[in-house]
């Protein structure tokens, strides 16, 4: 192998990488919170919601889970303008992430909700709680605690999947890597560095979510 590795560009293009990292972090911060919120709403609708709503939510979940994120993104960004809905790159990317994570977290949260013993509902009702109170205090919190590890890995997967949003020119970390390689022709080095950054971000995000889990659920769940 006669190829000479050259990371000399890094001094000059470091700000480009940094701004890419910032956009990726923004995407996953907004997408993570809204996506999980959507997922909890859908899980409620699917497990306990009104009967007419259940098939609607199921269709949404199945459609999203069985099509690639890239196509969902293209559909939102290129397809919707023909209906008169124009989204900016960042908005389309973030919306796609919310919709995607919403479907996956719906399934994860629902599994947690369905693991609630029937006696818990009855116990809640006997304490004169209304249905919403039972859902919030008795069902949802322990359910979230049970499925927190699975939910955390799904959030990390969505963060890694967000590399694709560079394809609609949302200026995330991958976009920065593409930009650098087109300027310096150092493709391997540019992608190598950004891959390492993604790996570090995935590890940090996982640790952070574990910390959030400890803060959100300090007590051991009563099973």
């Amino acid at each position: 192998m006669t190829y000479q590795f050259d990371f000399g560009w890094m001094a000059e293009y470091w700000p480009v990488l940094l701004s890419g990292i910032r956009v990726t972090l923004e995407l996953i911060a907004i997408g993570g919170v809204l996506g999980v919120a959507l997922g909890i709403g859908c899980a409620w609708a699917r497990a306990l919601g009104p009967r007419w709503l259940r098939p609607v939510v199921s269709t949404y979940v199945e459609l999203i889970r069985n099509t690639p994120f890239l196509i969902q993104l293209f559909f939102l960004f290129f397809g919707l303008p023909s209906l008169g809905i124009n989204l900016s790159e960042f908005t389309a990317a973030n919306l796609a992430m919310v919709i995607n994570l919403g479907a996956y977290s719906c399934e994860i949260v629902r599994a947690g909700i369905q693991a609630t013993p029937a006696g818990q509902y009855e116990a809640g009702a006997s304490l004169a709680m209304i249905r919403f109170q039972v859902f919030r205090h008795v069902v949802l919190i322990p359910a979230l605690q049970r499925i927190w590890p699975a939910l955390s890995s799904q959030i990390v997967i969505v963060m890694l999947g967000s590399a694709v949003v560079s394809q609609i020119a949302a200026e995330d970390l991958t976009f920065a890597a593409n930009f650098i390689q087109s300027r310096t022709f150092r493709a391997f080095e540019a992608y190598f560095v950004s891959t390492a950054i993604y790996l570090a971000m995935a590890i940090l995000l996982r640790q952070m979510l574990r910390g959030v889990g400890y803060v959100l659920f300090p007590k051991k769940a009563v099973r």
Binding site: T2, N66, T67, P68, L70, L160, A163, F188, T195, I203
Partner: protein
């Protein structure tokens, strides 16, 4: 300007979908073989082998598939090989699939009660004999549903290979859009074709899970 009928669009997409299917099958089989090797390393007695496998899994699950595709595409080229897109796509997807399958299967192997290892060990079986005669036959039952479920991820993962220029369903979608200026219709069709490929797999994974679980309870 040429007019395109809906059938023209659909026909071209379906023709390209063959490559999606082929690439999915090749990466799934390749990933299964490599994943099996990683599984053996991950559950081996030698600590360094386990660490190595763990590092491999961490690396491939902790980085975006898109980056792995880029690195395979540009990285293999450094060795002076002219890398066609299908080769880079196949290599990256195989390695990526292997890391997930190895981790799924490890869970299944670890779900086998420890007493099974000890019992077979007391019969003077070596590691490979234990795996072959005692552990894997039992682990296989629990491994089927999640493995089938993961195949959906592989099919969806192939869509990323369009970005390095492999012409499959997603790339065909882009090309047809550029020719017809009908992104809503074309990407709608593309999504439906992916759905038609993935949904039966998802569904059969769920059904298998239910079936094998029932059998499990009757033990």
């Amino acid at each position: 300007m040429t007019e395109f009928t809906t059938w023209d669009i659909l026909r071209n997409l379906l023709l390209a979908a063959r490559w999606t299917v082929l690439l999915s099958v090749v990466s799934f089989i390749g990933g299964g073989i490599v994943g099996g090797l990683v599984l053996f390393a991950r559950t081996a007695r030698a600590v360094w082998l386990r660490r190595l496998a763990q590092g491999y899994i961490e690396l491939f699950q902790g980085t975006p598939l898109l980056m792995q595709l880029f690195l395979a595409f540009f990285g293999l080229g450094l060795f002076g090989i002219d890398v066609p897109a299908w080769l880079a796509a196949g290599v990256a997807l195989t390695l990526w699939t292997a890391s997930f399958l190895a981790e799924i299967w490890r869970g299944c192997v670890e779900a086998i009660p420890k007493g099974q290892w000890e019992a077979s060990s007391s019969l003077a079986m070596g590691y490979f004999q234990q795996m072959r005669h005692v552990i894997l036959p039992q682990a296989l039952r629990i491994a089927v549903p999640p493995t089938v479920g993961f195949s959906v991820q592989v099919v969806k993962g192939t869509s990323l290979t369009s970005i390095i220029g492999f012409v499959e369903l997603s790339k065909a979608g882009t090309v047809v859009t550029n020719a017809t200026f009908l992104p809503f219709t074309v990407y709608g069709f593309v999504a439906l074709i992916y759905f038609a490929l993935c949904w039966p797999l998802s569904k059969s994974s769920q059904i298998l899970e239910r079936k094998l679980n029932v059998a499990h309870r009757n033990h």
